[in-house]
Symmetry: C2
Subunit: 340 residues, 2 copies
């Protein structure tokens, strides 16, 4: 029994008494309470893999910031790891894969992820659900296959993702074989998240923006669509950062909500996606402004999304050096300014 199900109702396309709000990357680096937990551990992965602690930092923003949803603390890279490619999280630098996929033989050595190897995530979801006790819904998530693929080929972040993109021109078949395996792994993983208690699912395509539109359809959207087709238990949100050209195609995908980044115009997106709930899209940098600026920008955003099914959020993850007080103020602004 959920006491606050605003976000689920908004995702289903229902009118809500006010706009629900949460923040991408809300569970994490911005909160001193998170850093306190994190400091006691050997590293980021220990936190991801310890269900009690993952649950604790998942719930922190609900208690401290007053968001309308929790999102399970985890990482999109648990999937390549469960497929056989271990990652490290390098302090101040981000993810790093000591071994990457370079050849067809490297793909032969991988497997479709067995959910058993990811049980720490499902355990974290169960504990979170118990401790949330219905206060707000819990969002589960995974990376889009193209984004996961990019990490597996590049071995980390990149300015151009030219290694991963090279493969699409040089050996499309090999690329598709790996993308299929990631997709299958992701579907199994998300189904288990839902079984464990996730109330909705978000698919993050963080590196969507680097592909030409045709390649985006062939090598990314196709697999996102497969995932959406397979998940019918709970509402699914697709957030493809930078893929403005794909919004018309998103209309035909079996997801309930489409996330917008801060380059995308809510008015135009609304025209294209009138069958979907929209989510987004404040520039995370707006939270560096004064309260007056934040209130002004939030009001502009709410007006732009208008009187349609809508979930307020940033246009990307909150930046680590953002003042939690500013985040709190943003959340209050959404709540107060959107109430009927």
């Amino acid at each position: 029994m959920l006491k606050n199900d605003l976000i689920l109702r908004a995702a289903r396309g229902e009118k809500t008494e006010r706009t629900p709000v949460w923040l991408m990357r809300q569970a994490g680096r911005i909160l001193p309470e998170y850093r306190a937990v994190r400091k006691s551990l050997s590293g980021f992965k220990e936190l991801v893999e310890t269900p009690e602690l993952a649950a604790e930092v998942t719930i922190q923003p609900v208690d401290i910031l007053g968001v309308d949803a929790a999102i399970i603390f985890s990482d999109i890279l648990v999937i390549p790891e469960a497929m056989g490619l271990t990652y490290e999280m390098v302090e101040q630098k981000g993810p790093h894969f000591p071994k990457t996929v370079e050849s067809s033989k490297d793909i032969d050595a991988l497997k479709v992820a067995d959910p058993v190897d990811l049980s720490y995530v499902f355990d974290a979801i169960k504990i979170t659900k118990r401790e949330l006790d219905g206060r707000v819904p819990l969002i589960g998530f995974a990376g889009a296959p193209w984004t996961i693929f990019s990490y597996m080929i590049e071995g980390g972040g990149s300015k151009t993702f030219s290694k991963a993109r090279r493969l699409l021109y040089a050996d499309a078949e090999m690329a598709e074989r790996l993308l299929e395996m990631i997709t299958e792994s992701t579907i199994g993983y998300l189904k288990k998240q839902i079984e464990a208690g996730a109330d909705m699912i978000q698919v993050f395509d963080s590196w969507a923006g680097v592909l030409p539109p045709e390649q985006y359809s062939q090598f990314s959207l196709k697999y996102i669509s497969k995932i959406c087709d397979a998940i019918d238990e709970v509402p699914v949100t697709v957030f493809a950062k930078g893929a403005w050209w794909a919004l018309p195609d998103m209309a035909d995908i079996d997801c309930r909500t489409v996330g917008l980044d801060w380059n995308m115009n809510p008015h135009s997106a609304r025209k294209i996606l009138n069958n979907k709930t929209l989510q987004g899209n404040l520039d995370p940098c707006a939270l560096y402004g004064s309260n007056e600026t934040i209130r002004h920008e939030t009001e502009k955003m709410l007006n732009a999304f208008g009187d349609h099914p809508y979930i307020a959020n940033l246009g990307h993850g909150v930046y680590p050096d953002t003042d939690p007080q500013k985040v709190k103020y943003f959340i209050e602004c959404v709540k107060n300014l959107s109430a009927y």
Copy 2:
């Protein structure tokens, strides 16, 4: 007297007997001949600041690759340097500013660039023009004020440019003061490039894509427009990477050519910008493909741009590990496939 003025005629909107072609970043890292010159020097900046050598590497791609234009070998960061903020080029990492702009006082300490401090660029242009002897036109260039501003605040590249963007929310007036100074510096600099012999000008807004559309108008396009208004001696090209939302506004800017990146659709851009010449936009990663792939992708690109004033190019700079033979093949494909 130019023997090949295809690119200038295309920029003026004239029909040409075939499509002219050049590559962003053609003078540089992909050519062994460039690396040979570079190896004999202490660093990148020595090459930029030695007119004879800058001219030599500017001409290399004309001789070796058969492009229809040379672009002066230099760097967009010579402008902040002439304003009083020195940069270093760190091998394998990119530009770094030991001191960045953090306060209004830091801006007080800067000056509008005096072209005298940039005479090494004008000397390089003069030598290049003499040695090119009319074979192809020479392109001069500068960074767009927003991109230069980002470097001056961030001190280098960045994933999010959140420091530079923070200032737009936190102190718009301070941001505008610096942008004005960069704009004035750039106009004086470009006028001197033209005096020295540059036949056309390209303005690169490499970090256009990180701004929300409204901020892009206010903090970038406004200043690009000022530059275009000030330069009427030769045709100007504006390339704003990632700023797809700004294409309609580009129609109203006093430039002749608009560059497209590989996310942008030539058909839609043509509809929006029917008063301009278009330039672009092959994905640089396509050059990692087989000759067959390159030919196929080039043909698709030429068809998409169709029978309108057009300059073939990549959608961004050529990647350093691209095989020069592939670049050559791309150029031949454009020449052969576009000939009437």
